[in-house]
């Protein structure tokens, strides 16, 4: 970090990725990604959740190995085999989830990793820390227990740890996600000082404004692929708004030959029909880890698909749960076919035809160890004809379950297979079969294609379209703008827990929704 010069030789890549691919069962997390990381630069990796950012970081920090492609360090191919190896190569990582031992002091955490036969060199550490903190203008309480520090302070400790270990490359994974606005500003200033000292920084975020404010170079990831890069020269030439609109284009723009591209829905909705679902001024109180909702109003007519667009974590899940009755609303009204249902329980709402397909398929949607057959009827446990007098009617359940398996094309070895053994796409089919069964009138889909492969994605979308075509009202919550554009009649944008605008899905919907999503007027 004493490297203050910037002669051409030093501007070469510290670390470069060439065609790196990483697969997990069922998904391609990174698909042939190239990346060059240079000293004196903040390289922003921008992408939605699931874009493959964290997997890239896992490979750079030695936690995971690429399946294809190679990583070059100082121009030489170098597999990074373990976290220790990454540290030895000068790659320090500040993970999204804090990697400090809460029961140890700051100093002890910084000393972690020394040779075990040595006594911890506390004095040496103190001197080194004083040197680094004064040059960076931060203060760190060395003898405080980590559990007593704020998240922002913990993060500074993690950055400090990377510096104490002479890192040349500092990776910050979603580091702003748990910080206050002031903390984010301080982190930005700190990054600036670090790159001025010759460090390379990889900064991962899904917030466009941070990318534009803190970056020197931006790479945009989408569904595991790198879809574009804004180099520093271009970055300097553009103003903030231009950068943001260029990023929007990269993130949400249509790619050529995209197999998911589908014509916009042509069928018009009868404008005069009475809305099936009408929501007025719905509000939910914020909790420690979730934003609240305020003044949410919309209505959906029979046969209509209303999309909810927005950057993940802006209240989508809260909205779905408040409508389904799983989360207490603090105000507003929800009317189903003109009957108020906001006071009803989850089960009563379901009975009246309001169905909710959760995005948490295994955690909330199914019981993984139960067989496929029972999972079809989880929400009817105890009810006839599948249970009589508290006794499970195996024959009845199996008969109906095998019908559903055929109808919804669930690929399962048998009805007795525990549902957790199925792929994500087939679990989704089980959920679809369950929620779309008899009596559904309004269906809420929360990220219905998240984590599914292409074939299952397309099948799920078709199923949703068919649902609307049957005259049901559909609320489709998704972070995939492409999906919304291909399916919805109207798209509402959610930001910070309120709807900031609703756009009819016409030719210019893409740009208008994109602008709403990043906080500009449509």
């Amino acid at each position: 970090m004493s490297n203050l010069s910037s002669s051409p030789a030093d501007r070469r890549d510290i670390v470069a990725l060439e065609g790196v691919t990483k697969r997990f069962p069922g998904i391609v997390a990174n698909d042939s990604v190239d990346l060059s990381i240079r000293p004196g630069e903040v390289h922003v990796l921008l992408g939605e959740n699931g874009a493959g950012k964290s997997t890239l970081i896992g490979m750079l920090s030695g936690l995971q190995q690429p399946d294809e492609g190679r990583i070059l360090v100082d121009g030489k191919p170098m597999p990074i085999t373990s976290p220790r190896h990454a540290l030895a190569l000068g790659i320090g990582t500040v993970f999204q989830h804090m990697m400090l031992v809460p029961t140890l002091t700051v100093a002890e955490n910084l000393l972690l990793g020394g040779p075990w036969w040595q006594r911890p060199k506390t004095e040496e550490l103190e001197a080194r820390v004083a040197e680094i903190t004064s040059s960076l203008g931060i203060t760190v309480k060395l003898h405080a227990k980590v559990s007593e520090l704020s998240l922002g302070e913990q993060q500074q400790v993690e950055i400090l740890r990377a510096m104490v270990r002479n890192s040349r490359l500092l990776i910050l994974d979603e580091s702003t996600s748990m910080l206050t606005p002031k903390g984010i500003e301080e982190l930005g200033a700190l990054m600036r000082r670090l790159v001025e000292q010759g460090l390379a920084i990889v900064f991962i975020t899904h917030k466009l404004k941070e990318a534009a404010a803190f970056g020197d170079r931006i790479s945009v990831l989408k569904l595991g692929r790198k879809v574009g890069e804004i180099p520093p020269e271009r970055f300097r030439a553009l103003g903030e708004q231009e950068i943001i609109s260029e990023i929007v284009e990269l993130m949400f723009g249509q790619q050529k030959g995209d197999p998911e591209a589908v014509e916009r829905p042509a069928r018009a909705v009868q404008a005069e029909a009475a809305p099936l679902l009408r929501v007025v001024d719905l509000a939910v109180a914020p909790t420690d880890n979730a934003p609240g909702l305020s003044s949410i109003s919309f209505d959906i007519r029979p046969g209509e698909i209303l999309g909810i667009a927005g950057i993940d974590g802006n209240g989508q899940k809260q909205l779905a749960e408040a409508l389904a009755g799983q989360r207490a609303a603090t105000g507003g009204s929800v009317r189903l076919e003109d009957t108020p249902i906001e006071a009803l329980s989850v089960g009563e709402r379901r009975q009246r035809g309001l169905r909710y397909l959760t995005d948490d398929r295994l955690g909330e949607g199914t019981v993984g160890t139960f067989p496929v057959s029972i999972n079809f009827f989880l929400k009817q446990v105890g009810a006839a004809p599948f249970w009589r007098g508290g006794v499970e009617q195996r024959a009845e359940i199996d008969r109906r379950a095998s019908e559903l398996v055929r109808e919804y094309d669930v690929r399962t070895p048998s009805l007795k297979t525990p549902v957790a053994r199925l792929s994500g796409g087939n679990i989704q089919k089980v959920l679809l079969a369950r929620e779309l069964a008899e009596g559904a009138k309004v269906v809420i889909f929360n990220k219905p294609t998240y984590g599914l492969d292409l074939a299952n994605t397309l099948a799920s979308r078709q199923r949703i379209r068919d649902t609307a075509a049957r005259g049901l009202a559909v609320l489709l919550i998704s972070t995939d703008l492409e999906e919304l554009l291909s399916m919805c009649h109207r798209i509402a944008v959610i930001a910070n827990g309120s709807l900031v605008g609703t756009v009819a899905n016409t030719d210019d919907a893409r740009t208008r929704v994109g602008r709403l999503m990043i906080g500009l007027a449509a």
């Binding site: 936690l63 976290p83 075990w116």
Partner: protein
Amino acid sequence: MTGLFSEVFLSALLFGAVTAAIPLLLAGLGEQMSEKAGVLNIGIEGMMLAGAYLGFVGAFYSGSLWLGFLTGIAGGVAVAAIMALLCVRIGLNQIVIGIALTLGLEGLTALLHHFQFSRSYPRLPAADATVIPLLSDIPIVGPAFFKHHLIVYLAVALVFGMTYLYRRTQLGLNLQAAGDKPAALDVAGIDVMRTRTIAVLTTGAMAGLGGAYLANVGAGLFIPFITNGAGFLGIVLAMLARGRPVWVLFGALLFGVCLSLTTAMQVAGINIPTDVIQMLPFLAVMIMLVLFGRRASLPAALGIPYERGAR
């Protein structure tokens, strides 16, 4: 009842308490180390049994108590190595493997003893005591605490050694991190598996020594199931001690007094049914758990096998 509070009686009671406390102390200290590193070592009873049997066999055939302690340690470490392989490396369930090891060793040591000695229970000569000059002349306390085998003093010294290890050394930091946040240790560049393996093997060594002491010094012979729950008491001690070795010492002495009382009261011929007296130590465990159970603060990752990059 006259003899109950005599000088000789009290002194013998305390002497017995120390003798009974040493295996518990070693088991507790060993268990504490495993738990600090995040491994719930239920197999410690089996490690003690292996130590007791091999320690006895070693001492019996060599005629040297010290060689017996060494073979005892080897026995404990051998069982611990199985535990480390299965639970740390492969990541199997620590409770299941621990119980299996304990039950397995109960059977195996009884079987081997039967093959070796048939139905006889040969005794070792009484252990030499190391008498500490001056201190041993103090009435009651002197004969109770300062006329023990050298290994007793070493075991007590180990308490301070462990305190130093946990507080002042790099290994101590690593152990605590392995138990509280193994992922943090991993990204700091330290092998979590290796750290935990070291902890489990050390536990085995301490438990083996404790078992060997129990057979060679405490009883002077080996009988099947001789440990009689000493390892489990060690687990209780480790959980109540909140990671501090000195609390293990206090707890071990308290249990030691209870165990010693059962013998002493029977010897003194007090008119209480033997069964009731023999219940005492376990009653003490229950009372301690009720009184202090809440103070047990266990490492966050205790019992959870570490897997790199697990989500």
